[in-house]
């Protein structure tokens, strides 16, 4: 019996470590580096929270999408950002090693918008969005299993909503408050 408990504990520890390591991998540690800086708005939404919030989603499409979100991290700096150019360059260098592909990059002067994604067998596994403008700098990183079919269905559903109720959002939009 004791052996079983030990085994379960080790297994749990292993899962927790691998989860932490994998979660770090998607933003190359930027979240942890800057989350405690002055002026940082850092939000970490574990998969369990989105899983629970999916129960309150009215439409099947929303539920499916929320359930496929495993972990989300949001880091926003208003006014002054400590994130430097070398941080972005370091992240980009590491991204290829982490199988993250550059999807779109737009840079104008110091402003930057960048999306990176990791796809496995037609499923989107990681999505990292960086944005930097004069007044705001931020990073959103989402880990999950998103299929394009789910996105397709959600887009179609959104179109139906907009046709049914022009100018109004559906009553059951899930809202997560920090």
């Amino acid at each position: 019996m004791n052996r079983m408990i030990k085994f379960k504990a080790i297994l749990l520890l292993f899962v927790a470590i691998s989860y932490t390591v994998r979660a770090d991998a998607q933003d190359a540690g930027l979240f942890w580096k800057y989350k405690s800086y002055d002026g940082a708005i850092a939000l970490r939404i574990p998969g369990a929270v989105t899983g629970i919030s999916s129960l309150f989603a009215g439409e099947r499409e929303e539920r499916m999408l929320l359930r496929r979100m495993h972990a989300t991290r949001i880091l926003v700096f208003e006014d002054r950002s400590p994130v430097t150019d070398s941080d972005f360059q370091k992240f980009n260098r590491k991204a290829t090693r982490r199988q993250l592909e550059e999807i779109i990059t737009v840079r104008s002067g110091k402003d930057r918008f960048q999306i990176l994604a990791r796809e496995e067998k037609g499923t989107l596994r990681s999505l990292v969005v960086f944005f930097r403008a004069e007044e705001v700098t931020g990073m959103i990183s989402v880990r999950g299993r998103f299929r394009l079919d789910d996105l397709n269905r959600l887009i179609k559903k959104t179109q139906e909503w907009s046709e049914e109720k022009p100018g109004k959002l559906p009553a059951s939009v899930p809202v997560l408050r920090a």
């Binding site: 150019d85 999807i103 779109i104 990059t105 840079r107 104008s108 179609k156």
Partner: protein, 172 residues
Amino acid sequence: MMCTLLFATAFNLHAQNDAISRFFNKYAEDERFTVVYVAPKLFSMISKVSSDDEEWNKMRDIVKDLGGLKVLVADSVNNGLELYNDALGRVPVREYDELLTVRDGEEHVRIWTRENKSDTVIEELLLLVGAPDEFIMLSLSGKIDLAKISGLAETLDVEGIEHLDKIKKKQE
């Protein structure tokens, strides 16, 4: 002998494409330039997302065969012509066919295409614009339909892409 010739041709083609990429990478982090890079994956994702929206489907139809887009724009420089000549010197003219040349005062516009010899499909389009205070380089890859390409200028809101309209005017 044949093998050496094949290897040399392949190496030469790669090196030529590399020259344009190197030029792009050289200025990718330069703050005087605006950079837009759209990876082939985004175009492939867009082509998979279906919708009833007419505009979306029109865009989907245009981008479904596109490989990637790179745009480098400098609109407030004082050495636009110098940059243009530098880029011009790097264009592998042997591999590209000149599609269009426009010179209006001090503004130069040139568009080249590169065809896949086996199935005569345009697989790359390169646009260069140079003026004393402006420089634009646009490289579009994939299976390119010249008839649809001006539609891309209407669909994408990217600086410099409006010059693709000149292809439509040339065809008319």
